[in-house]
Amino acid sequence: MKPPSSLRSLPPEGAVRQQPGEAGSVAGSSVRKIGALALLIALACVLPFVVSNYRVFQFTLVLVYAIALLGLNMLTGYNGQISLGHGAFYAIGAYTAAILMDKFGVPYWLTLPIAGVVCAVVGFLFGLPALRLEGLYLSLATFALGVALPQILKYKGIEHWTGGAQGIVITKPEAPEWSGLSQDQWLYFVALAVMLLMFWLGWNLLRGRIGRAMVAIRDQPTAARAMGVDSAMVKSMTFGVSAMYTGVAGALGAIAIQFVAPDSFTIFLSISLVVGIVIGGLASISGAIWGALFIQFIPNVADEISKAAPWAIYGLFLIGFMYVMPTGVAGFIRIALARWRRRRVP
């Protein structure tokens, strides 16, 4: 008993063309690409010294979202499993960090791997039944998870852990003496280091055997199984890894914001993650960063028009990108670069 086969249609055209080659293009073999990457990292290191503390905080959140978006992109972009409830894993990561710091006095940096492991396990377990749900049905189930989670977090039975509707306030970590940095700057560098590590791991995962298996399952599930890909294993593992990324991001985000409460993790958080991967570019590593910049800064700009404006803009961009630019910003840059190169080499 399976959902109708017609649901198993192809992913967006751009995503089909998207191969692990894109991963290679981030830091491919050529010296020039490595140089560009080094320049970007250098720029990212200089950034917190030239902008205000509040801006540094905002860029920290960009890094946090980038990690979460990479996680969701693995699942939805690369593996073709639609999740509309990834905010739930972000929330679980955030709450894990907050509870560990608040109730057990665990140092903040140690909460990140723990949150990652917790979310990986939860994601893997949620992924097991989700294996049977293809396409549309998985999106329904994850949507339900995203909508239900804030209520679960308010549940009386776990109130002494979660703080109920009030949430938990956590203290911002102090920068170590030797660094001479402000709290915001220190946190920014922590986030940057975590993000670089996670992206490096993700890049290795996606361009290798497992990454190809993920894409194969998305594009040709039957053929992939015939070729010996353990579809069930790869799918639930992808779910676990994806949840782990999002969970680590959630923990980092909680530490940066110093506060967790059920109402910060509504279905709209999950939707903004979807917005991020669509705008940034499905099945693209660099897309996670573009998407993160978008979901962090567009609301700030749009908020001045109206409280509702950011979401109206999100919605318009979602539909607009689906119609005219399904490969997102990353895909657009790729195409533009390719054209530019072709013009230079006659």
Binding site: M1, P4, P129, Y137, A144, K156, P310, A312, M322
Partner: protein
């Protein structure tokens, strides 16, 4: 739980079940025709309810505003199908889901923008004191149940006994053959969207007095409607209706026993459970995939 409380919970479960049944029916109608799940269904219903509210604020009597709203929601549904959904009709599932999510977000923020996020009371057309002096069910609950049943019967008659209803069913089941006998399949799909919009509007207006009017009022109801549609079988209209009542009662009884914070979890568990154990639901067609 005392018996009295239990009976009371079952009745109010049936009342909200009627609402879920309506929204689930709207979802199933669109699913049958296009194999899309309309994530924006709840928000469209919410927006229609705001339209009804503005009409009443402008001084229109309740029932005039009610029917005018249903008509507007019908037109709105048709327009959305023609303008937004049509271009992605045969697109991959991910694009379709994302377009619907985009629609959800846009309608939600438009409502917030135009009508503000403050919670508004919404009038009920039914008397405040319970009918027939009973202790278990308020007259609004009874009234909204009655209206739901009337709507469902009208729909049944429409699809079963009118040429247009037959044409719509044909277009949903077999588009190619329908086209060959001269049915304009595209318009039939748009009509389906219109009907779904109208049913959603009725559900929204009926539920607004209990949940109060605000842009996010339908998000939970949409979830229960998903659960209802899946319990009944997502391609079975009758199943969706029965599923709606089952979910309504379950949600209320579980909420009373375990605490209201777990009400949405009932829907989550039902959705995941049905999809895992019996994806075709109670009355849905069992699909077999050919490899």
């Amino acid at each position: 739980m005392t018996l009295d409380l239990f009976i009371h919970q079952v009745f109010s479960g049936l009342a909200s079940g009627g609402i879920y049944a309506s929204v689930a029916l709207a979802l199933v109608m669109i699913y049958q025709a296009t194999h899309h799940v309309n994530f924006a269904q709840g928000e469209l219903a919410m927006f229609s309810t705001y339209i009804a509210w503005s009409l009443m604020q402008a001084g229109m009597p309740y029932w005039a505003a009610f029917f005018l709203t249903v008509a507007i929601a019908f037109v709105l549904g048709v327009v959305i199908e023609r303008v937004i959904v049509r271009p992605v009709e045969n697109a991959p599932i991910l694009s379709v889901v994302i377009v619907f999510i985009g629609l959800l977000v846009i309608v939600n923020s438009l409502a917030g923008w135009i009508f503000s996020y403050t919670i508004k009371p919404f009038p009920s057309p039914f008397p405040a004191e319970p009918l027939f002096g009973n202790r278990y069910v308020s007259s609004h609950e009874l009234g909204s149940m009655a209206i739901t049943l009337v709507v469902l019967s009208i729909l049944f008659v429409f699809f079963r006994f009118t040429p247009l209803g037959l044409a719509m069913r044909a277009a949903a089941q077999n588009p190619e053959s329908s086209r060959l006998v001269g049915i304009r399949v595209g318009w039939m799909l748009a009509l389906g969207w219109g009907l779904a919009g109208a049913i959603g509007a009725i559900a929204g207006v009926m539920v607004a007095p209990t949940v109060f009017l605000e842009p996010n009022m339908m998000s939970g109801i949409l979830l229960y409607a998903f659960a209802a549609a899946l319990v009944g079988g997502i391609d079975s209209p009758g199943g969706a209706v029965l599923g709606g009542f089952i979910v309504g009662v379950l949600e209320n009884v579980v909420g009373a026993v375990l605490g209201t914070e777990l009400k949405l979890t009932v829907a989550l568990v039902l959705i995941v459970g049905v999809l895992v154990v019996r994806p075709s639901g109670l009355f849905g067609k069992v699909h077999v995939t050919r490899v």
